[in-house]
Amino acid sequence: MLLQLNNVSANYGQRQVLSSINLEIGRGEIVGLIGPNGSGKSTLMKALVGLIPSCGEISYGRQPLSSISVKQLSRHVAYVAQERDVAWDLTVERVLALGCEAVGGSVRTPKYKEQRKQIIKSLSLETIRKSSILQVSGGEKTRALLGRALMQKTPLIVADEPTAGLDPEHQLELSEIFQNLREQGTSMLVSLHDWTYAARLCTTLVMLKDGKVVACGTPEQVLTQERVQDVYRVSAQIVKTEQGPIITPAARL
Amino acid sequence: MKNAVKMGIGAVLLACLSVSSLPACAEPDDTTAPKRVVSMNLCTDQFAMLLAQEDQLLSVSKLASDPNLSVMSDKASNFKVNYGRAEEIFLMKPDLVIAGTYTNQTTVQMLRRLGIKVVQVSPVRTLFGVASELRRLGKLLDREEKAEQIASQFETAIQHFVQGQPDEKLRAGVYYANGYTAGDGSLVNELIETAGLQNIASNLGLKKTSKLPLEILILENPQLLVEGSQFSDKPALAFELLAHPALMRTLGNNGRVKVDDKFTICGLPFVTQAIEKLARESSRLGVQPK
């Protein structure tokens, strides 16, 4: 197991935002977190990288999070935050280098250069590698920031709404990238809003509501008509295809 | 040659002093002596306390009782304190108010409008001025005899200093807070020269109170550093300069003299005490090979 959550809860002041979450992520899995706004997706992700305090057990490998230093954590998990505000006018290449430097790598070694070449290729960043991160398009920026996370060479990547603000083409492109990564053995935890997209991308889906896990399993198990109605308060149309289900919201209840 | 110069200075000074004894004042001739006098200025306070008859002086300014600023702070406690406001002064019903030329003009005009006689005295910047101011105020207060007595005593003392000047004059630098010095045309400059020293600021052609960069002072290689007292005993960063290592290196601990500011703020007969102190330092350092 790469990551194990056992009875994890978290509070914002008096309000309980996560309660008794149990979750496991193994090698080569893409776990999708779905649920309405405010259901605790981002909070869960922040809790498991130690950005907000939580109780219960979170462990990487067999090591509990509380005993892992910030430094060590950066080798267990890489995190792509929802906020993609970069403060300075860095080049895409430089942003990638930051990921490598975070885990103590040096950008001057051949090993680093090889690694960067691969990642640039797999994320199709060749044309913009010398461009400013502040001037590339949204899709390019997402890919560049994902590239930075990949440069940390962690077995697990946590990405908070990576598809937000991307057009369909770039969403599908990202999906391919994630699939390729999985094939190379990297696991992922991503939060998503698009059911169809989630169903096609993820090996496992976890549906949250009010800070609790309401369902966990394969996309077909989780995304049922009743559950979508119950959790999202919308009726949905589900069409089964060979590539997976197509699920569209139809009407508010 | 040196002696001739010395005599020359003496003669000039004497000439000045004797001119001052002529009744040259053009004050309006009041037949009756003022009986209720209020002074509003640190310097006129002390002139008034020196000259006035008992019960003639009603009130002096607040500053007159500050021992750091006033030579006569003890005596000032015998008088009512005023803060230089028209209202309080009017209520004292004075028949003569003595103020400085820098006293708040609106207050002075207000008092005049209220029918009170206000005489304004400009700051005394020369030794000659001390004696002449004594005599002028003596006449004003109807105390000419007393004034004459103090003035001639003062003149004798000055004459004594002028005649006792050394052949070799030491280079003295006056250094106040924030690097200010006293050059030509200042009272302090005259005190230093009368004490038998040469003033570096004056050699450099500086006029009145002006800034003297530390570098330039050091290059003039002063033998004596004349410091003001710390104006008041309250500390301030402004005095840090006086402890600069460059000064310590040039002068050591020996060549410093502190002249209390209360002796130099106002041109009063008390300036002789400052001259005395400077002259003593001058002869003390003069005998030692520097």
Binding site: V80, A102, L145 | P235, A236, P245, A246, R249, T250
Partner: protein
């Protein structure tokens, strides 16, 4: 490639700093020729010229270099920490608090009995401000609240300084206001440097280790955390380092503004906008700029009584304006 360009930049700035340092030694209120100065520097005899050189000009030039370097470095660090190009040491209240401490030390009279009290009070006061900052900003220490807390501390310290000077019985208070508000290197001595040297060293040390963390922080606070950067440690180094070094120089020179703001901007493009690579060049360029400003002050002559801080503000304020306009264009 960029590493060689960094080395070129650092060497160039070092050479300019050294040149300006020497130029500053040659200039002063007194008109001393180069041969005179060289003679004085080489001879072991104690002449007025050597006194002027060693006791007045050398400390002043050194102080200029150290102050400029401190301001430039901490400006670069704070801009990185707050992810804001308008940040500077004055913004987080350290300079004004140091001034307040110095003013308190002077007016309570402690400096008369303990000459070391002044820098210690200034530093302690800067330290208190630095400690209050995260408390006021809240546990998570968000950037915006950090800036707001800094502005609040800064205004309180300025108000208290004015109050102390206002209530001071000393007639020189007005001149003191001028000194603490405007800053000057005039006639500071070697003793001042000895007193503040340890704090400068510690401060610089803390500031220089922030480089890697600042780089990661350019991707955001949350991202930086997951990149192995301990944000509390990073904040501590940046703020404590600023408090120690800027507090120390402020204790001796008063508040000198704008250097910490301008310098990182002048260099940012040369180091590809990378916070870590900005640090050393900013320190060197700060030293250059402040020494240059001090040379200008000297050229205006002693009688002009122009204060160093006024000059930096005169140059800095229009620059600040330009920066705002540039930011505004970037927003549109």
């Amino acid at each position: 490639m960029k590493y060689t360009s960094d080395a070129v930049l650092i060497w160039a700035l070092s050479i300019i700093t050294a040149t300006l340092f020497l130029a500053s030694l040659m200039l002063g209120a007194a008109d001393l020729s180069l041969p005179q100065l060289i003679n004085a520097a080489l001879s072991t005899q104690d002449t007025p010229v050597s006194t002027v050189l060693w006791e007045i000009r050398v400390p002043r030039a050194l102080l200029g270099v150290i102050t400029g370097a401190t301001l430039g470095l901490s400006g670069a660090v704070l801009q990185g920490l707050l992810r804001n190009p308008l940040a500077e040491p004055g913004l987080i209240g350290v300079s004004s608090s140091a001034s307040l401490g110095a003013v308190i030390a002077i007016y309570t009279g402690i400096t008369l009995t303990m000459p070391f009290a002044l820098p210690i009070f200034a530093l302690a006061s800067a330290g208190i401000a630095a400690a209050l900052l995260p408390l006021l900003a809240g546990g998570r220490g968000q950037t915006l609240t950090l800036i707001l807390a800094g502005v609040a501390i800064s205004s309180i310290a300025t108000a208290l300084t004015s109050l102390a000077l206002n209530l001071s019985p000393n007639p020189f208070a007005a001149m003191e206001i001028v000194f603490w508000m405007l800053g000057s290197l005039n006639d500071r001595s070697m003793q001042h440097l000895y007193i503040i040297a340890p704090f400068i060293m510690v401060g610089w040390g803390l500031l220089f280790v922030t480089g890697k963390g600042l780089n990661a922080l350019s991707l955001g606070e949350e991202t930086a955390h997951t990149m192995g950067v301990s944000l509390p440690t990073l904040r501590f180094c940046a703020i404590a380092g600023t408090a120690a070094s800027v507090g120390a120089v402020t204790a001796v020179t008063g508040t000198i503004g704008f250097i910490g703001l301008i310098v990182p901007h002048l260099l940012r493009k040369m180091v590809d906008d990378e916070p870590a690579r900005l640090l050393l060049p900013s320190a060197l360029a700060g030293a250059c700029l402040l020494t240059l400003a001090d040379i200008a002050v000297k050229l205006f002559g002693p009688q002009s009584n122009l204060k160093l801080g006024v000059l930096t503000a005169l140059v800095g304020a229009p620059f600040f304006l330009w920066l705002i306009l540039k930011q505004r264009r970037a927003l549109i």
